[in-house]
Amino acid sequence: MAYNILVVDDSRIVRTVVSKTLHLTGIDIGEIFEAENGQEALERLENHWIDIVFADINMPVMNGEEMVEKMAQKKMLDETPVVIISTDRSVTRIEKLLSKGVRAYLNKPFTPESVRDVIIDILGQS
């Protein structure tokens, strides 16, 4: 089964890098959806089946933390796991996000191996 993935980042270059990286993981990737902020991400989630979300924290309009809170309110986090990809290395912040339901945290810059390991850990090998 191919996984549908949502990449949420205000940076086009990061969205492109994540998409390219996903194709290098060796995992069967279905459709890759993109969103520039948390608000757009919620809209994509309403309209498409998404297996896993990779999201930045620091974004305009709605940041990644607010997006996770909204998803938790809508009880979407069990069905759609969220992985944060960020430059923020504060362990306090990471613990806070994990306590809100985020499943994993990757620091930028990341490697295809780290992305693959996170997907397999959360969803299993497709």
Partner: protein
């Protein structure tokens, strides 16, 4: 910027540019005059937490295009110019994230602003390069300036 802070900035900038953009970075000695004749971008990001500060990167568009090409693994001629501004914003975002941890440890939370970007002229570049809060680097032969100011 004191000498300890300068050393931390040097290490972080070199490390991030090598890992993120696969670029070799060194510091020109004082005798070399940087050529700022190219089209120049000036990115700024603020951090706010136990300390507040402002980080800037000043670089020619050609540098940003090269970063884009290296990150995406494409030829610089191949659409890399379209994402040059984006590449500089992301670069300063990563450097700032690494820098606050290198300066203050990984316990405190710092909120980073959305990076802003302006075009500046060569006179402004020369003024910045003379500022003691700015460090000059050469990334694959292209001059860049990194500035840091911190307030308690």
């Amino acid at each position: 910027m004191n000498n300890t802070t300068k050393d931390i900035v040097r290490k972080v900038v070199k490390d991030v540019l090598e890992r993120f953009a696969f670029m070799f970075v060194d510091e020109p000695d004082g005798s070399e005059k940087a050529d700022w004749s190219d089209d120049i971008l000036h990115a700024v990001i603020s951090f706010n937490g136990e300390f507040r500060g402002r980080l800037s990167i000043t670089a020619p568009v050609s540098f940003c295009t090269e970063v884009t090409a290296n990150v995406l693994g494409i030829d610089p001629e191949e659409n890399a110019g379209e994402m040059a501004c984006d590449a500089l914003r992301e670069l300063i975002n990563i450097i700032c994230g690494e820098l606050v941890v290198a300066l203050y440890g990984n316990k405190p939370i710092f909120n980073l602003s959305i990076p802003t970007l302006d075009r500046i002229d060569s006179d402004r570049c020369r003024t910045l390069s003379a500022d003691p809060n700015h460090l000059q680097f050469s990334a694959d032969g292209t001059p860049i300036l990194v500035g840091l100011s911190i307030t308690e």
